[in-house]
């Protein structure tokens, strides 16, 4: 389990990095950020990039700040930076609640938020957060930058809308209003494993009724996404068991669950219903 040979590049500026990417991407050159997903696949030789462009020494990729109503997360911001709230308010607390579910402590020291999003494992917590909260991805290439909304970004298992010469330079998550409530649930067989299914829900209340519900599901399908049917079941309803069960059932009915050797579709569907209901209960409590 030794990686295949590659050439190593360690640019120090974004321009340099994207120029190297433009040059080497056609020959399977890839970005190396935290490496916590890429290096294992290289160890199994499932990935065998010919060039690695290490962005850990690139200046100005470590931004973690609120700008224009969004939390901007640069390409080298690591999971561990969310162990304490990255910003004031609901969003900071939400991200801190979620991060403790991502793999394990040493992985979180190296792995990056943007790396997870670009890698796009369907069971990645950050991917689901980005999808649920309508994040915007900033893709940078030698020819410029492009903004990609989350709903267009995640295509299927480990496949995104990023072009091969594009670096995911930044992810922007809209700040949540102070009256937003949220609930997060995931289920896996062991602590730190990839989720078999997971969900993030948010909503606000107006006059006791649910407004702007977001119900995101990850791990269950080939990509994370908001489940419109579940959100429709919540909008305008009074929070409570009836509404939550209706939304949970709607989510379970709407998804097209993945199957693998360990987990069948029916289990993932049932589990998703449970997790959505519990996340809604958490949000309401």
């Amino acid at each position: 389990m030794k990686p295949a040979a590659f050439e190593y590049h360690a640019p120090t500026t974004i321009d340099e990095a994207v120029a190297l990417l433009a040059e080497h991407a056609p020959n399977d050159g890839r970005i190396l950020a935290g490496g916590q997903s890429l290096v294992p696949t290289m160890a199994f030789r499932l990935a065998r990039p010919t060039h690695l462009i290490d962005i850990n020494n690139v200046a100005n990729l470590d931004k973690l700040a609120i700008e224009s109503g969004a939390l901007c997360i640069g390409a080298t911001v690591r999971h561990a930076q969310f162990h304490t709230p990255a910003c004031d308010g609901v969003l900071g607390r939400l991200l801190t609640d979620v991060v403790s579910n991502i793999a394990h402590y040493p992985i979180r020291q190296r792995g990056t938020f943007c790396g997870s999003v670009a890698h796009s494992d369907p069971a990645s917590e950050w991917c689901m957060v980005a999808a649920t909260l309508d994040a915007t991805m900033i893709a940078q290439s030698a020819s410029g930058e492009r903004l990609i909304p989350a709903k267009d970004f995640f295509e299927t298992v480990m496949t995104t809308a990023l072009n091969e010469d594009e670096l995911l330079r930044e992810v922007r998550i809209p700040v949540l209003s102070d009256d937003t409530v949220y609930g997060f649930q995931e289920f896996n067989r062991r602590a730190g494993d990839f989720a078999i299914s997971m969900t993030l829900v948010t909503y606000q209340l107006e006059g006791g009724k649910i407004v702007d519900p977001h119900v995101g599901v990850g791990g269950a399908e080939d990509r994370p996404r908001r489940i419109a049917e579940a959100e429709a079941a919540l909008a305008g309803q009074t929070p409570g068991d009836d509404a939550f069960r209706a939304a949970a059932d709607a989510a379970a009915a709407a998804i097209d669950p993945m199957e693998d050797h360990a987990t069948n579709a029916q289990y993932r569907r049932d589990l998703t219903a449970t997790l959505v209901r519990r996340a809604l209960e958490n949000a309401a409590s």
């Binding site: 030794k2 190593y8 290096v39 602590a191």
Partner: protein, 160 residues
């Protein structure tokens, strides 16, 4: 085959000048090219934690970094834990509480625990369990590892 590059790894305060193939993992460089074999490999895909070391004082899996990425960084491994003949409180607690059997996972657990106790000396039992669940042990059933790290935490806190 890619060209080798000269780097300097500072392991436990000692500089090792090595010429590395970029694909060599940090664990392999430390073990096979710097002679520090206390860091063990248990899975080489980042799950077991046997290869956990401190890079710039953070616990990381040394199988998931390339040696070339650690050029100039401060690396700490199990060999540097004791102060001469004096055990680190974690080492002593592991011995006194029978927190190891075969000892293969032990260096990884010791470095993981060192990293977290230095970063969070007041860490709660629950949070400590969460961190220690990062690494696998196949011999002890973990109970004595948890006990030893808690004792070392209390001792280190009292001494500071």
């Amino acid at each position: 085959m890619s060209d080798k590059k000269d780097i300097t790894l500072t392991i436990n305060g000692r500089d090792h000048n090595v010429s590395v193939d970029p694909r060599w993992t940090l664990a392999d460089v430390i073990r096979d090219h710097c002679g520090q074999t206390g860091t063990h490999l248990g899975c080489e895909h980042g799950i077991c934690g046997a290869c956990t070391i401190l890079v710039d004082d953070s616990p990381v899996r040394s199988c998931l970094m390339f040696g070339i990425q650690a050029d100039g960084k401060k690396i700490r491994t199990v060999e540097g834990l004791a102060n001469g003949d004096e055990y680190h409180p974690l080492q002593r607690a592991f011995i006194e509480n029978h927190a190891l059997q075969c000892g293969y996972c032990t260096p990884g657990f010791l470095m993981l625990a060192t990293g977290i106790l230095e970063a969070q000396p007041d860490i709660s039992d629950d949070d400590l369990n969460d961190v220690l669940s990062s690494n696998l042990c196949r011999c002890t059933g973990y109970a004595n590892i948890i006990k030893a790290v808690r004792i070392a935490r209390d001792e280190m806190k009292a001494a500071s």
